[in-house]
């Protein structure tokens, strides 16, 4: 079995998760057993996974494993499931249903987002109106945990159940030394294979879990750590033998302009001291692999000769390649960007460049897809207003199914300062959208052939960037030709090509590690 190690699958996911989703789709296509492994407890984890087309066979969560709920017959829940005693009067709501004992609010049933009337959690109120207990319901239809809340309303103790209601784990919280936060600091694993176990950190528990997984599942197992820190360190500490790989979903060094000499990205400092314990590194671009090779030449120790394989993070399924893109002549003048919305993605510069496009193309609209923190989103709204293009910019948030947005746009744009591999660019190509981007580390150079399937601009050249967008929006023939090239270039990321890369890693050969 091949395990892709991650921390969580959320409702809004970053490229770490999206790379895994595409990789899993590819492995399924090639009929090789693989699963995404997640560490965090999340009662809605399976609901989130389902929105990305993943089922219980695709995702293995650590807590599910210990709770015995990895393979559960899903049931829908409703207020009726709780068998609320008749002394409580229910006030139904779409998000929350409240239960009153006379004038006193006794408990609140929080309904699952996106589902009608199902139970996500139940908050119990005390005599003074504080929430003192919260029951968490798994989206698959059973009560999976209880949180006991402290005087601030934060959990101090959590009890996680088996499906029959018996206790599987207890987790306890501690106030951090600076008194600012509360963190999990103690884990009791109860009666697991007849024994009780005590862990001080979730990393230790995760390591124990990975070792158990490795021992319980026969045959050669492979672990690929995707999420930095949360998964690579626990994987390093495993006691049992397995093939272990580190995958780089982000840049490995702090300064994207100088990836050879600048300090390592803090997330990777620890793991780079123990490369000898790994079977290989995987990057998504040849340039990042080279930079790491040069860096390792200066490093001492056994790990410096570790094998580095390059596998693009993108994967375009054959279904997509068989689907002819929507003709640009049927589209409005929409330009799309998709990706996490952060300062490193240069979204502010994208707005500035687009402000140069609007006067020339008065009906141009920039469709921005992705999530970011609220302060940054506010700053984008403010900037668009200042640039007087507020009516031309749509911040449409994160969506699990982005295909319709690509099909409605003519051009994909990105002003990112850095990336490990811009997945969305390849998705855009596969919908026949030419790409305009800055030539920064890493990815654009590998994905875009300048003047063929898009334009590769000098970083910071906003004027030039805008001119190319204007040209694509106004010259129908150029857009049509480059769109066709874009669609053709997406074939470089089809199963045949990407799988060939995977075969070179040695992961699939099943050999013992040295």
């Amino acid at each position: 079995m091949i395990y892709f190690l991650n921390q969580y699958i959320k409702a809004l996911n970053s490229s770490v998760e999206h790379v895994e989703f595409k990789r899993l789709a590819l492995f399924k296509h090639e009929r090789v057993n693989a699963k995404i492994v997640t560490r965090d407890y999340d009662n809605l984890g399976h609901l989130n996974a389902a929105t990305f087309g993943l089922n219980q066979d695709d995702v293995l969560n650590m807590y599910d494993y210990f709770q015995g709920t990895t393979d559960v017959t899903e049931k829908t829940t409703s207020v009726k499931t709780l068998k609320v005693p008749i002394r409580y009067q229910l006030h139904y709501g779409s998000d929350v249903t409240q239960a009153f004992d006379g004038g006193r609010l006794a408990f609140e049933i929080h309904h699952t987002p996106g589902r009608v009337g199902e139970i996500a959690s139940v908050d119990h109120f005390d005599a003074f109106g504080h929430v003192v207990k919260r029951d968490l319901w798994d989206s698959r239809g059973f009560k999976s945990a209880t949180q006991f809340l402290d005087f601030d309303g934060d959990p101090h103790t959590e009890i996680l159940y088996h499906q029959d209601g018996t206790r599987a784990l207890e987790r306890f919280y501690e106030v951090t030394d600076d008194h600012r936060g509360k963190v999990l600091f103690n884990f009791h694993l109860i009666n697991y294979r007849g024994n009780d176990y005590y862990f001080n950190t979730e990393d230790d528990l995760f390591t124990f879990f990975l070792d158990e997984l490795n021992q319980q599942v026969k045959g050669q197992n492979v672990f690929i750590a995707d999420r930095p820190v949360a998964t690579d360190i626990p994987m390093l500490h495993m006691k049992t033998r397995a093939k272990k790989y580190l995958f780089f979903p982000i840049l490995h060094a702090a300064n994207p302009e100088d990836l050879v000499h600048s300090d390592l990205e803090p997330s990777y400092q620890e793991v780079f001291n123990h490369l000898d314990k790994l079977d290989g590194l995987i990057t998504m671009t040849e340039s990042q692999a080279n930079q790491i090779r040069i860096r390792l030449k200066h490093q001492k120790g056994k790990g410096r000769n570790i094998k580095i394989t390059v596998i693009p993070g993108a994967y375009v399924p054959n279904d997509r390649l068989k689907t002819q893109p929507v003709s640009p002549r049927q589209k409005a003048n929409r330009v799309i960007y998709a990706g996490r919305l952060g300062a490193d993605k240069g979204v502010d510069n994208l707005l500035r460049a687009f402000a140069l496009v609007v006067p020339q193309v008065p009906d141009a609209v920039l469709d921005i897809r992705g999530f970011g923190d609220q302060a940054f989103l506010d700053s984008l709204h403010q900037l668009a207003a200042q640039l007087q293009i507020a009516d031309h910019v749509e911040l449409n948030g994160y969506t699990a199914d982005i295909d319709p947005a690509y099909d409605a746009a003519k051009v994909f744009v990105s002003a990112a300062h850095q990336d490990a591999f811009p997945l969305a660019m390849v998705e855009a190509l596969s919908h026949g959208l030419p790409v305009v981007a800055f030539d920064t580390n890493f990815g654009p150079k590998q994905i875009i052939t300048d003047g063929v399937n898009g334009f590769l601009m000098a970083p910071g050249d906003l004027y030039g960037f805008a001119q190319q967008v204007i040209a694509l929006l106004t010259k129908g023939r150029q857009l049509q030709d480059m769109g066709a090239n874009a669609f053709n270039s997406a074939k470089d990321y089809d199963a045949k090509h990407i799988w060939k890369q995977w075969k070179t890693t040695g992961i699939l050969n099943g050999g013992q590690r040295k």
Partner: protein, 520 residues
């Protein structure tokens, strides 16, 4: 079924618990089904009931009821029965009742046993890696984990779970600070009771729920005799299911010892008396109290009964009389809680005068102290230079032996209902000198025949009556014989006659409770 409802029962019992136990015995003799019920959580409760001779068939505690732990066969659970983490190493602590459990160099558990000689597990504390307690598990004396306590950040007890013998959760309790910052229990939740969860903002609400569920569970028309008004009246009054409710007055119900018509209520009974119309019956202890009560409140709504709380075992009545020569000469005793209303201080103040007249008289006090009253008495004894003459003893289980060795019993109380000690002492042939207060002494003691009644707080009169008896051993012995005779007033048959009106009314008015909620 008759339920005798009390707040709690412990090793040291007050007159109320003794009265309940005697009453239970009486009902058993008369073959009328009855149970004592209590509501406080106590992990040694079944040690207490076993010690008091109350069988599990005749006892229901609120927590036991929801824990499915009314009948649990006790088993001895020691540290060797405890599930230990893999690779655990046990290290005894300096304190011999504690054992540390290490995994590697980390302390994960501390196990506490009941005492140095009793190695049953009392509690287990679980710690995080920095030594902070995260969880405390306390054990029922019958040998199962019964109470689980969770601490937030090692310091504050926030959440508790009360567990069934099979480990399932029966009840959860939560604490929170009130508006003024004081921390108190703010929610009780009965978990998975017939598949449903019930939240109660107060312990009173939970108590009412318990009473209703208990009432329903018998499927018969039941009677509830409530023995504590201050603690329990509210919960009984809120009951939803039909049951014949009777409040038993265990003391003078008003503050004044003279003006029963206008006096303020005794604070213990004030709330209940204001709400008396919500009750089916009220039981007074003596004819005098019955007359005072009915003169002020009438005989109906609620129905008023006169039922002495004391019952003397037939076995005691049938015993041969203790030979007068077997008793310690001039031994005077008082058997009562050390407390302000029992007025031990009056007896102590009278004692120098007694000693002056009868130098070889001895005085022994028996009973546990309420609050710091023992310290006050000790100081008084010291001031009067009586340290060599007066001895204090703690509560004893075998008070019968004490009665059999003494020659005279004193009760100088300020207020009473029907003091058990008088009835018991009389049954053991003890002459009595008691203050003539409301209520009780006048009903037990026949002045000048088996004892003397004296004015409350009259030190000289009390001393004179004691001197009178101690200096005339023949008279004292004659009073003793009279005491034996008079104690037949409190035989089971005599008292049962007083119960019959209540039982008749309860049968007439009794309704079988019906469940309004259909459990899924």
């Amino acid at each position: 079924m008759y339920f005798f409802f009390d707040d709690n029962i412990s090793f040291k019992k007050s007159g109320i618990e003794h009265a309940e136990i005697k009453r239970l015995k009486l009902f058993n003799e008369k073959q009328v089904p009855a149970k004592i019920i209590t509501r406080q959580l106590a992990l040694d409760l079944h040690d207490v009931t076993a010690d008091a001779g109350i069988s599990d068939d005749q006892f229901v505690n609120l927590f036991d009821f929801f824990q499915d732990a009314i009948h649990v066969k006790p088993r001895k659970l020691t540290i060797h029965d405890l599930k230990m983490p893999a690779d655990a190493v046990l290290k005894p602590e300096k304190e011999p009742t504690k054992t540390d459990v290490y995994v590697g160099d980390q302390l994960v558990m501390i196990v506490g046993q009941k005492s140095e000689t009793d190695d049953r597990i009392d509690w287990v504390q679980y710690s995080g890696f920095n030594g902070r307690p995260v969880r405390m598990v306390r054990y029922d004396s019958r040998g199962f984990a019964a109470l689980e306590q969770f601490y937030s950040y090692g310091t504050q007890l926030v959440t508790e779970q009360i567990l069934k013998p099979n480990g399932e959760v029966a009840i959860q309790r939560y604490t929170q600070p009130r508006g003024d910052g004081t921390i108190e229990t703010s929610l009780h939740e009965v978990v998975n009771y017939h598949g449903q969860d019930y939240d109660f903002a107060t312990f009173e609400d939970l108590t009412t729920f318990f009473l209703d569920e208990l009432n329903l569970s018998t499927g018969k028309a039941n009677v509830l005799i409530c023995d504590r008004a201050y603690e329990l009246a509210y919960a009984v009054q809120q009951m939803q299911t039909p049951i014949y409710t009777v409040m038993y007055l265990h003391n003078n119900h008003v503050n004044s010892g003279t003006d029963h018509m206008h006096s303020d209520f005794n604070y213990n009974y004030e709330y209940m008396l204001e709400n008396r119309r919500r009750w089916d019956g009220i039981a007074t202890l003596t004819p005098w109290q019955y007359d005072d009560f009915t003169e002020r409140f009438g005989k109906v709504k609620p129905n008023v009964y006169m039922i002495p709380g004391a019952v003397t075992d037939q076995a005691i009545l049938d015993r041969p009389h203790v030979k007068w020569t077997d008793r310690n000469p001039k031994s005077v005793i008082m058997v009562a809680r050390l407390s302000d209303e029992k007025q031990q201080d009056i007896l102590i103040k009278a004692w120098p005068k007694v000693l002056n007249a009868v130098p070889d008289a001895t005085l022994d006090f028996w009973g546990y102290s309420n609050g710091d009253y023992d310290k006050y008495l000790a100081k008084l004894v010291d001031e009067l230079n009586l340290n060599d003459d007066i001895v204090f003893h703690d509560y004893t289980k075998d008070i019968g032996a004490v009665y059999d060795k003494a020659q005279l019993l004193i009760l100088p109380s300020r207020a009473e209902g029907l003091p058990l000690t008088l009835v018991e002492a009389q049954a053991h042939g003890l002459p009595i000198v008691a203050s003539d207060i409301k209520y009780g002494p006048r009903d037990v003691v026949t002045d000048g025949k088996d004892g003397f009644l004296v004015e409350s707080r009259n030190v000289d009169q009390l001393a004179d009556r004691i001197i009178d008896l101690l200096s005339d051993p023949k008279k004292l012995a004659a009073f003793s014989e009279n005491a034996y005779k008079d104690s037949w007033h409190y035989s089971a048959d005599a008292i049962w006659k007083d119960w019959l009106p209540l039982i008749k009314d309860a049968e007439k008015n009794g309704q079988i409770p019906e469940r309004i909620e259909v459990h899924a």
